[in-house]
């Protein structure tokens, strides 16, 4: 290794890979993050891809990106702005220039920076010769030509088109040098990735080394960086995305409850991965049903729930809208059902690949009639596991549908996740009925929880009918009795309210006994809000965070938490839905708001700026 450059130790670094949709940027990002995880860095990743599969090459619409944040200390977000940007063409540079730090290292493939590509990317002036890249550490690497030359020299009969697919490894080689990494790790990744195609292993490894050697030789980069492993973190970890974690949470809950899992679903971005993942788990007796539409997705799940399965359906905003009628059936039949809603930009088709938190009120209220159900939200990619498990547990134990809110940011983002052990997860008690129980009645309720009991077809002596028409208390006959209807509506509402007795109290990060400013968030914004609050506390500000995972019902101590602080600000990726909800329940408090609906997560910098302004106001 070259000793010509100094190695700078960094606490954390953000790298963004950007290129055409087909350039393998997602793969490169994963390869880099896997290597970082192996070295013991904490990390968080986020892909940024267009909704078109392969938009025209070289255009802004076709730019696909992948951001990795690695750290020596805990990392909670993929990072606001990049320290290093890799841009394989002018469009990738143009699309990402505003998301890099002022002194960032920008690595471009100089072979693609010509007038033809400038035109496609919409550059009027040559960005390399005007002032737009001033202040950046610009590395102009001939990535395409050197990759092609490297592959050609191998003489193994690969053409330029194939050679171009190895360019991402040239980039990887550059980064391995830049971050002072051991090359064998990258080589190992390629050997596994292309195990069945030895010529591709050979070509990719050769190009990887070429990239590394280029960086070492040309001295285009002034410094090397080193991010030390995280201290005090031990054990087994996986790099996991929210969608995989949610899928596994459901499987874990089924095993814990002694039930089999059924998922009725319909592909929709960004939730499809849940259906994909679970469809591959037949070995764990998971039954997935790819339905003809969103409605059949939830309806098949309701059928399976009646049959005694742990039943779930997965979707995103517009799909949740289609499921509302059937969700109402699950409410009135009081059957367990988990509805996983991975939120995206709306309304309508909106921004399918971008994140948002704008389905909150749809989840709470979006059904006909008085139709309460439990709503909870996950707040990190990894804890989608925990909250999917919790959704299943609450659903089964309280015999009611539960909506689990995730979002595109959690679903596609990954983090390093400590692998749990099944023996450490809580028990799930199914309210089953014994065959021939003479006291069973379909709408007889548990006196504490107010939930009914679960008698399954095939069980002896428990034949009964349920359905969408209002039923009489206890006996479950069709009833149009006015007083009975009010009673049943109240039971269903109170049943959900009483869930508050079975969920944890709301935690405060920061001044637990109260203080100046309480930042209030819910679900997927946790990483950014936590990081902003943490940094400000380290700067000496009296600021705290209450991040809500339990939405309906709210934790029992919510009033107490809100009341402890002089100022409150509710931050969410919508126009103020949780704010409306909190105001309707706790109107006695004054709330400030910070709302963002750009299809993007919060940036720590913008949050801190807003909080500081609020703290300075009288």
């Amino acid at each position: 290794m070259s000793n010509k450059n100094s190695i700078i130790e960094l606490e954390q670094v953000v790298v963004k890979f950007a290129g055409d949709s087909g350039d393998g940027m997602q793969l490169t990002g994963m390869q880099f993050s896997d290597a970082s995880a192996s070295l013991g860095n904490d990390l968080s990743t986020f892909p940024d891809y267009p909704s078109e599969i392969r938009a025209p090459q070289g255009t802004i619409a076709g730019v696909s990106g992948f951001q990795v944040h690695i750290g020596h200390k805990e990392v909670q977000t993929p990072g606001d702005l990049a320290d290093v940007l890799v841009a394989l063409n002018p469009a990738a540079l143009k699309a990402n220039m505003k998301w890099v730090k002022p002194s960032a290292t920008i690595i471009i493939d100089i072979d693609n920076f010509d007038n033809k590509h400038y035109k496609k990317a919409g550059f009027i002036e040559d960005p390399l010769h005007d002032s737009s890249l001033k202040g950046f550490n610009l590395v102009k690497a001939p990535i395409t030509s050197l990759s092609r030359a490297t592959v050609r020299e191998l003489n193994i009969g690969l053409d330029n088109k194939t050679a171009d697919k190895t360019r991402n490894q040239f980039v990887m080689g550059l980064l391995f040098w830049l971050f002072d990494r051991d090359m064998t790790m990258g080589e190992h990744f390629l050997q596994e990735k292309f195990a069945k195609k030895p010529e591709l292993v050979k070509a990719n490894i050769a190009v990887l080394r070429a990239g590394f050697n280029y960086a070492e030789t040309v001295e285009a980069m002034t410094n090397q960086f080193h991010v030390n492993p995280q201290k005090g973190r031990k054990g087994k970890f996986k790099k996991i995305s929210g969608n995989i974690a949610a899928s596994w949470g459901l499987v874990a809950a089924a095993e814990k409850a002694g039930l089999k899992l059924f998922l009725g679903s319909y592909p929709i971005t960004p939730a499809s991965e849940i259906l994909q993942e679970l469809s591959g788990l037949r070995n764990l007796e998971v039954k997935t049903f790819q339905a003809e539409d969103e409605i059949a997705g939830i309806c098949t799940a309701i059928g399976a729930s009646f049959g005694g399965y742990l039943a779930a359906t997965s979707t995103s905003g517009p799909g949740l809208a289609l499921k509302t009628e059937a969700a109402g059936l699950a409410v009135i039949t009081e059957l367990p059902l988990v509805i996983v809603n991975v939120q995206r930009g709306g309304p309508s088709t909106g921004l399918p690949t971008k994140t948002e938190q704008s389905d909150l009120l749809q989840a709470i209220h979006g059904r006909s009639g008085e139709s309460p159900c439990i709503v909870i939200a996950a707040s990190s990619p990894g804890n989608c596991f925990e909250y999917a498990f919790e959704a299943a547990k609450l659903s089964v134990e309280h015999m009611t549908p539960v909506i689990l809110l995730s979002d595109g940011y959690l679903a596609n983002g990954t983090e390093l996740w400590p692998i749990p052990q099944m023996k450490d997860l809580p028990e799930i008690k199914t309210p089953r009925v014994k065959d021939n129980d003479p006291n069973y009645q379909p709408y007889k309720r548990d006196p504490e929880k107010l939930s009914r009991f679960w008698a399954l077809p095939g069980q002896e002596g428990l034949r009964h009918r349920i359905g969408g028409l209002e039923k009489s208390d206890v006996y479950g006959e069709v009833s149009h009795d006015p007083f009975n209807h009010q009673l049943m509506c109240q039971y269903r509402a109170e049943k959900v309210n009483r869930v508050a007795d079975y969920i944890p109290k709301q935690d405060i990060y920061g001044s637990k006994d109260g203080g100046e400013l309480l930042v209030i968030g819910w679900g997927g914004t946790y990483g950014a809000l936590y990081s902003a609050v943490k940094e400000m506390r380290e700067e000496g500000y009296d600021i705290s965070l209450a991040q809500f995972n339990y939405i309906m019902p709210l934790p029992k101590n919510t009033d107490e938490v809100l009341g402890k602080f002089k100022k409150r600000i509710i931050c969410e990726l919508n126009l103020g839905q949780f704010a409306d909800y909190l105001r309707s329940i706790y109107p006695q408090y004054k709330y400030s708001q910070f709302n963002k609906v750009q299809g993007l997560p919060f940036f720590i910098s913008e949050l801190k700026k807003r909080f500081k302004t609020l703290l300075e106001e009288e």
Binding site: G235, E292, A296, C299, G307, G458, L462, H464, Y475
Partner: protein, 342 residues
């Protein structure tokens, strides 16, 4: 309400009879369908606790409340989807779907065709009275063209669906047609449908005494039915008529009605019904026959065995269980790329 009377003796109709009042209109065709189903169930050798009836919305769909089995009265059009989930999860159950022409052909059309395509072992009875009864008399997708109803005061301008066409178009393997006032025919067909492995679609010509009285009489009337209906039976020649002197032959690309004894036609020239033929072309022609050009086919028009969805699903599970190293969730959580940080 639950029914806790539990005996292991041989089942009878009484085992499926509810005590509560049945609230269909007096004279409704649904009564005889209910009775025929109740007569059929004891013949199936299935435990009474293993039957489930799932219905949608409409007059027909109150059915689960009137039969003493497990049941769900669900959502408009969605019974097929709910029953699909139930049967996929629980192949051990004997699951029936009760639906109407609006429920299955209009709002539930999508679920209907996809159920058939998947060949899930459900028995679907369509109460086809060619009208919306529960909402009081609007036209349905099976209402004849030109009919004046509450929502078509100038006559409908939509071509009606025939459930048989839709079934066969969706690759259906079992389609039968029966008439509500012919209980013996119904019981015979319900039994065949229940024994058939795969989706069985049974269209019942049902009368709505209030909003569409006598809609099927032109075909099913006592005086005319022998000449306007052909009762099809597997392996029997397609002969009909009061004098049993008419039959069907294949001519060109269509079925043609011929008279036995005329133009040199003898009984041996008549087409023999092959309900088990995988090729659905003749079944399709039989299902589409309408009066007056042809008699209307009643009975089992198509009955072909094939793999069921839930059977294939179970096979995949058995295969995956036998071949995967991942036997439980702990195995799953520790599979793939694990970073051991020390």
């Amino acid at each position: 309400m639950t029914d806790n009377n539990n005996t292991t003796q041989e089942l009878t109709k009484k085992d499926f009879t509810v005590d509560s009042t049945i609230k269909w209109c007096a004279g409704c065709g649904a009564y005889s369908i209910l009775s025929s189903v109740q007569n059929t169930l004891p013949k199936l050798g299935v435990k009474k606790d293993d039957f489930v009836f799932v219905s949608g919305i409409g007059c027909s769909s109150r059915f689960p409340y009137y039969i003493k089995t497990y049941g769900i009265h669900s959502l408009h059009g969605r019974a097929t989807a709910i029953a699909s989930g139930l049967k996929s999860a629980r192949p051990d159950l004997n699951v029936w779907v009760i639906t109407g022409d609006g429920d299955s052909m209009a709002i539930g059309g999508n679920h209907f065709i996809h159920l058939i395509r998947r060949n899930i072992d459900l028995n679907v009875i369509i109460f086809n009275n060619k009208i919306y009864g529960l909402t009081k008399g609007q036209y349905s997708p099976t209402t004849p063209m030109g009919s004046k109803t509450k929502t078509s005061p100038f006559g409908t301008i939509e071509r009606p669906f025939m459930p048989g066409e839709l079934t066969l178009g969706a690759q259906g393997n079992f389609f039968a047609r029966v008439i509500d006032k012919e209980p013996r025919g119904m019981e015979d067909v319900f039994l065949q449908a229940a024994l058939h492995k795969g989706t069985s679609i049974i269209e019942v010509f049902q009368n709505c005494v209030i909003f569409n009285n006598a809609i099927h009489e032109q075909i099913t009337g006592k005086d005319v039915r022998d000449d306007r209906i052909i009762y099809v039976e597997h392996n029997k020649p397609l002969i009909f008529g009061k004098e049993r002197d008419k039959g069907l032959i294949l001519k060109g690309q269509d079925l043609e009605v011929v008279k036995i004894g005329e133009n040199g036609i003898s009984e041996s020239d008549i087409l023999v019904h092959d309900a088990n033929n995988p090729n659905p072309n003749v079944h399709y022609m039989l299902a589409r026959m309408t009066y007056p050009t042809h008699p209307v086919a009643v009975g089992v028009i198509r009955s072909v065995e094939d793999n069921t969805y839930e059977g294939l699903l179970e096979e995949q599970i058995e295969h995956a269980k036998a071949n995967s190293k991942i036997k439980n969730v702990d195995d799953l959580l520790n599979s793939g790329n694990v970073f051991n940080i020390e």
